[in-house]
Symmetry: C2
Subunit: 214 residues, 2 copies
Amino acid sequence: MKIGILGTGVVGNTIGSKLIESGHEVKMGSRTANNEKAAAWVNANGANASHGTFSDAAAFGEIIFNATKGEISIAALELSDEKNLNGKVLIDIANPLDFSNGFPPTLSVCNTNSLGEIIQKTFPQLKVVKALNTINCGLMLNPMGLKGKHDLFICGNDAEAKSKVTALLQSFGWKNIHDLGDITNARATEMLLPVWVRLYGKFHTAHFNFHIVK
Amino acid sequence: MKIGILGTGVVGNTIGSKLIESGHEVKMGSRTANNEKAAAWVNANGANASHGTFSDAAAFGEIIFNATKGEISIAALELSDEKNLNGKVLIDIANPLDFSNGFPPTLSVCNTNSLGEIIQKTFPQLKVVKALNTINCGLMLNPMGLKGKHDLFICGNDAEAKSKVTALLQSFGWKNIHDLGDITNARATEMLLPVWVRLYGKFHTAHFNFHIVK
């Protein structure tokens, strides 16, 4: 599948490489067409890897990953050009973390709104699926990296988009995927971050996830 | 141990009965000394069960459980009389849930504040330990009710109070208890509720909990 990734940080790099490994074609996008980090990632990942602007990556992908920081997600999507986004599936893995008062971060939006909803409202014809935002990038497409069962939450307004994302996630080994409903439920999964960041601070590792035990 | 419970609802009833079963003496408190639900609970639970006002229950307990709804917790604690609270350990199991716009509820306070912190600030000499607020009352003192490992979070400013609460919880079978630090970390555990209530809505049961998988 052709996949666009917005963002050239460790999250974009990690999931991008994993997607390439699994046979997908990936274009990584950033503000500029000649981003050095993106170029280095392309060099390391072979012929199915390419890079360009946010707009190039959005135009390229059948599915687009928002792997930007929450604080710049809307700007990155605006630079992607709405015409490249309309009708596409966006997997929003970002969180509205606010580190301005240090660690642990607060959320810049929560409770009665969420980053997922803001993206969906700003780009009404984009099919936003919130997913993977509750785990570290090293586990996002590598669920077998943890011993034992663990769980993932998705939500979004478009059932077909959620099916497509679920199939992609299952292809990477995800089993316990809980569809929480429409995109307003991104409030709930983004609000898992406050406990996640504290556990990260306590465990000194991001290599963990939640499993729902019944 | 002598334990006071503030609140006569299903939460207070359930944990009260479990404490009695385990040999503790429990006084359940409410606004009035002649609360019918509290009287019925006493009748059902034998000689170690008693009831009275919030103030009576607070004066009685070495440890006090706040089993009131979040929206009336401060009022219930004020009626308990600060002199009955000072120096005591309060296990705050309440959540600041706001159902005014239906289900799922939002939180009336979150992100940069929490019910746990508000209680601690209002009653500075009370030793508030936030705990058990992330699970249904049927599991609070009955962790073996679920198959498999699952986890609990506690936080609070007073190390000795947390040790005392941890020992009490361990006596009921809790094993994976994560101390997140001071009472400001109640923000994180209260912010687990938005995902908890959605899972409750989806599963049609409250009989589940989170396990952290590493």
